[in-house]
């Protein structure tokens, strides 16, 4: 039982990170109908940028973190929207989805060739210790991840539902034409979702890299789990992506412990196929018809 709870907490921690990636993914999808196949690489890269700033430029960790995150949000929030999404969206969403695949190759190969192909240690904000609580040994890092991710998602939820800008963002996602008529700056709102997406990815990157080490190929699994989380939870809801992320994280952790380590990846994939078969709008999603 204690063992089970330990796996559960570990699963919730990685799940919270998948949720961060999945929420960014669904936000962008809602406002621009774009499927970002580079989402995993978005989570991989900020940690690499920070490490590069530390090792190549010799900056202290805190300065490298600020610089790396700022550079990442500027490049892959603002720049991504401006350079890739804007000129391409007029051709439809299919070329755009394919362009994000090309981008994922560039990010991955860029991290490998520009920095290193080896897995790198990444500094952790909390000590890498475990505490014993009621006979369960819990990693402090897992607790910290769950708390930070919940705070971030709570803030985002508050922003989206309680502030004027957040509501304008929602309106722009639901019906851009009507939003425009109502005087909402739709273009700025769409840009805002790209910035939030980049910020969430950067946060996920900082949280996950101390555990998984920073490596150019990390994006593959993270991206896959973010997709699965988004679909399982429901594509059109922040809370859906949150629930989806936690479910996928816990299932992955339990599958690794109790089913098979070599097939741990297969269990969330099977879950994905089952959800698509029986409840394609996701566990918490609303039914809607939208062609991509």
């Amino acid at each position: 039982m204690a063992e089970f709870l330990a796996y559960l907490i570990a699963g919730l921690a990685t799940g919270a990170i998948y949720a961060l990636a999945a929420i960014g993914f669904t936000l962008v999808w809602q406002t621009s109908q774009m499927i970002n196949f580079a989402q995993g690489e978005f989570v991989m890269l900020p940690a690499i940028l920070i490490l590069a700033a530390v090792k190549l430029a010799g900056l202290p960790v805190w300065a490298a973190a600020i610089l790396g995150i700022a550079a990442f949000i500027a490049l892959f929030g603002w720049g991504f929207k401006l350079v890739i999404v804007d000129p391409m969206i007029r051709h439809g969403v299919l070329p755009l989805a394919i362009a994000t695949m090309a981008l994922s190759i560039i990010m991955k190969e860029g991290a490998k060739d520009g920095f290193t192909a080896e897995a790198q240690r990444f500094p952790s904000l909390v000590p890498q210790e475990t505490v014993s609580f009621l006979g369960i040994s819990i990693s402090l890092q897992h607790i910290a991840i769950i708390i930070v991710a919940c705070l971030a998602i709570g803030t985002l939820q508050w922003f989206v539902t309680r502030t004027k800008t957040g509501r304008q963002m929602q309106a722009s996602a639901q019906n851009p034409n009507v939003a425009l008529i109502l005087g909402i700056p739709v273009a700025q709102m769409v840009m805002l979702t790209f910035l939030i997406n980049a910020a969430l990815a950067a946060l996920a990157s900082i949280l996950i890299s101390p555990i998984y080490l920073a490596k150019f190929s990390n994006g593959e699994v993270i991206g896959l789990f973010a997709f699965i989380a988004a679909i399982v939870g429901g594509f059109n809801q922040v809370r859906g992506a949150l629930a989806g992320g936690l479910i996928v994280g816990v299932i992955d952790s339990l599958a690794a412990a109790y089913i098979s380590t070599s097939y741990r990846l297969a269990v969330p994939l099977v879950l994905l196929v089952v959800i698509i078969l029986i409840k394609p709008e996701g566990l918490f999603g609303r039914k809607e018809e939208r062609g991509v």
């Binding site: 499927i35 391409m88 299919l94 394919i98 090309a102 981008l103 560039i106 990846l265 196929v273 394609p280």
Partner: protein
């Protein structure tokens, strides 16, 4: 306009095959191998071009299907002692069947769910190839895959095998050429252009999209059946998800929907790296950047760009006269 262009496609295919039959003269073993690899990749891209370019579906498992074909052929020819030709047919049929099984639930919902289902499938195939050592040899793969014996002629050397690949590729390309011109092909095109209208004209959307996906997957199986004897050793790494992304980029680079696009796309994806050797590992980045540039400037790919240029050149002599008829 259509018939003349399609005849041009036919002529280009046959002429290209004749040139490629003699091309490796003096190129050496490695040069010949690269040419053969180009054609084998082009077969997989052709299939994906049917799925994406003609039917408008995103499949992210083309490399995985190619892996199924390659492993099926490798196992059948090494362990079961079956000839290459039946192994080739079985590989294609297997991928066709798996394509139907996979596509049916996904396309039941929404077309873009196929992307996610194939994404998951791709990873599952890779897991099985890597973990089921008793069957696939795991990370050690399968070695000593024999090259086929066709009509009593051994294709063990690079040149005869290359010529064999040329013939098979030509046949597969011609079948697809015929298919696209057939009423079925017209239905596929109608689906991509306007699904609602196609449905109202009595095209069974679900059946046709499913069929396009299954045929496209079967072509990946055929490509795998050629790939296994070409490299003579296979392991799971060339069939990963990133390889499927790469094949998709080749479709777009060549010109999605163009019959000759796959050859151009595979040329950029397979032969270009050989020319870009001096850039070291950067060729993937260069290729991906070229594709993004193309998608921004001309989503119809290299062939679309050429067509655009050709139209512009032909119109110039007319000068100030307005174009009399629409060329496309």
């Amino acid at each position: 306009m259509n018939t003349s262009r399609f005849d041009a496609v036919f002529a280009t295919l046959v002429l290209g095959a004749v040139i490629l039959w003699f091309a490796p003269a003096g190129m050496g073993r490695y040069g010949t191998y690269v040419l053969s690899l180009w054609l084998v990749t082009a077969v997989a891209v052709m299939g994906l071009n049917l799925t994406l370019g003609i039917a408008g579906l995103k499949s992210l498992a083309q490399a995985a299907f190619m892996g199924i074909g390659a492993y099926a052929t490798a196992l059948l020819t090494t362990k079961a002692g079956i000839g290459w030709l039946p192994a080739f047919a079985i590989s294609g049929a297997l991928c066709f069947a798996v394509g139907l099984l996979l596509g049916f639930p996904a396309l039941r919902v929404k077309a873009h769910y196929l992307a996610f289902v194939t994404l998951a499938f791709s990873t599952l195939v890779w897991l099985v190839l890597r973990n089921e050592q008793w069957l696939t040899g795991g990370v050690f793969g399968i070695s000593n895959i024999p090259r086929p014996m066709i009509f009593g002629i051994k294709t063990d050397n690079a040149l005869p095998f290359h010529r064999f690949v040329v013939v098979v590729t030509l046949l597969l390309a011609l079948v697809l050429w015929w298919l696209v011109r057939s009423p079925w092909g017209r239905a596929f095109l109608a689906l991509r252009e306007n699904p609602v209208r196609a449905a109202s004209l009595g095209v069974n959307i679900r059946a046709y999209t499913l069929l396009a996906f299954a045929i496209g997957s079967a072509y990946a199986g055929f490509a795998g059946a050629l790939y296994a004897p070409l490299v003579e050793f296979i392991d799971p790494s060339p069939f990963q998800l990133s390889a499927s992304f790469f094949l998709l980029l080749m479709v777009v680079a060549g010109g999605s929907g163009y019959q000759l696009g796959p050859f151009v796309g595979a040329l950029l994806g397979v032969v270009l790296p050989e020319w870009l050797r001096f850039t070291g590992g950067l060729y993937l980045i260069i290729f991906a950047a070229i594709v993004i540039g193309l998608l921004i400037a001309c989503p119809q790919g290299v062939l679309g760009l050429l067509e655009r240029g050709w139209i512009a050149v032909r119109r110039r002599p007319v000068g100030s006269n307005p174009p009399i008829k629409e060329t496309v």
